[in-house]
Symmetry: C2
Subunit: 320 residues, 2 copies
């Protein structure tokens, strides 16, 4: 198995010793590293009825690269550990690695090691190590008065998952396919994150994995601020608008797994940020403003009235 | 949960940003790193009937440190991801972290991040990053004519597990306690590994996790050699000899989870290696010799006759 994996994996730059020894031995461009990890469990995070193993391999790396993007870093090395149930054979596992390696190659990431074991359900544990920018962007650092931005569009992934759960209607295949793709193979916003960090444009940044409001609350806590979000400014894809209309923003506010970046920036950088898309490979949208911590987080409708919010997003410990 | 973990964890040296952001940000003493990962799954690798959560936390880090030791490195940072079943409450999880952090502190390792999720059974995924010596010792590099050594004693852990499975007899409590301790809280041989690498004494090295013969076969494959092991030279603990006698070496040959180091060295280093124990904090024993690859691996009895070998060790993919 390990030999199969080794042969299917391109040797990466800076890898002195890769798959097949006790440890990987890798080089760094600087004397410091970013490290992130995600654990994905069948039945909790994914359902093999609704995803291919290729897409799952792709996504299990993507969610980690998204964390590196959120610090403004450049990913370099990945460690992948799998718990494999007996019902999956080596073809399935090859498919998984094909998806993983596809994204790894696109993003210049070298798979350098891991562990494989027998398990009752599929377990995927990924650790990614990256090169930090001169000043990594954390969650702390936003101030009242800062603008709040997001990359891309919100809610597509959650809506895609909903469509999968409900079976697909036969009409609107184009919109559905787009939403499913966003759910299955999200794009980590590496160019945007790296650019924002390098140019010192973001005061705080996070990737949206648990839903906009939930992840915004992490930034607010860490930075000790509150936030106002303008409901009508939320960037919705055409597919989103086709399927549920632009009035129903609940998927965009609280749906998980967008893997877009949420960041804060000083108001004086506004002109600069609005001319950016070419450099970040994705559009960015100003959706709100940081306020004093005691004002909490509120979402305002077009008349300036706060919406009643029900759920703050996805909680991994909530009973499903 | 994350906040509880953060508070229970000592901030480490070189950690610029630890638990609680998208990534950890850490410093390196050199421009390169060793990386290793292990995935432990309830029902496959451990049984909560036979182990405390403290011991499990300790061991889940120990097995990774053992991989760092096997390259001659010094461990620095750990990432811990947990899948937690609902039947475990926060007291159990605190116990786990207490065990993990106890060993981390003893070995100068900083826990810098990870992921926590709901799961059906307990899943433990650990990644450790360490500083390599000038020349990390891999599995490749042994030559025919080299001596073969191991640290410590062999088979204690496998024998401990056997005793757990069969219920404990009431006599010989002292010996049993020692074997159980070896099974539950193995000692990663960091000082020995690091010393052997620094002094250029080992031509190839591996830690014994799947049993002596199984791990020896990895070194033989990577180095393209065969090996002769002298059965009567296998280092057996007093507890081992008390429980099964020194004739039955099957636990020492094929039992898993010793977490001792197996290494090869040029014959001219023999005098040097035999005077080492003070520097390596553990005794080392010469148990065999590297031979040409075509001779395979054989274990010789005291009259020089090869033993008939049944199993090469523990295979994680064998049906249990």
């Amino acid at each position: 198995m390990i030999e199969r994996i080794r042969r299917a994996t391109a040797p990466g730059r800076g890898v002195r010793l890769g798959i097949g020894d006790d440890c990987a031995w890798v080089y760094h461009s600087t004397g410091s590293s970013l490290i992130t990890a995600d654990l994905l469990i069948e039945g909790v995070h994914f359902n093999l009825k609704w995803t291919s193993l290729f897409a799952l391999g792709y996504k299990s790396l993507a969610v980690n690269l998204s964390d590196i993007a959120a610090m403004g870093g450049v990913p370099a090395y990945a460690i992948l550990s799998l718990g494999i149930p007996p019902r999956l054979d080596s073809k399935h596992i090859d498919e998984f690695y094909r998806g993983f390696n596809r994204l790894a190659k696109n993003c210049g990431v070298a798979l350098v090691g891991g562990d494989t074991n027998l398990a009752e359900s599929l377990i995927i544990s990924v650790c990614v190590i990256g090169h930090p920018p001169a000043r990594p962007v954390g969650r702390k650092g936003a101030k009242a008065g800062d603008d709040i931005y997001v990359t891309g569009t919100l809610g597509d992934s959650a809506l895609g998952l909903e469509l999968l759960r409900k079976r697909l209607p036969s009409a609107r295949q184009g919109a559905i396919a787009q939403l499913l793709a966003r759910h299955r193979q999200p794009t980590p916003r590496l160019a945007a994150g790296s650019f924002l960090a390098k140019e010192n444009l973001a005061t705080a940044m996070i990737d949206i994995s648990d839903g906009l409001l939930q992840d915004l609350s992490h930034v607010c806590e860490a930075s000790n601020i509150g936030a106002i979000i303008w409901n009508e400014r939320l960037p919705l894809s055409r597919a989103y608008r086709t399927m549920v209309g632009s009035d129903r923003t609940s998927y965009a506010l609280s749906g998980g797994e967008d893997y877009e970046l949420l960041f804060c920036a000083r108001a004086r950088k506004r002109a600069r940020l609005e001319s950016l898309p070419a450099r970040t490979e994705v559009k960015i949208t100003r959706i709100g403003r940081c306020v004093a911590a005691r004002r909490g987080i509120s979402v305002l409708d077009s008349s300036g009235k706060p919406l009643a919010l029900q759920s703050k997003g996805h909680d991994h410990f909530k009973k499903q």
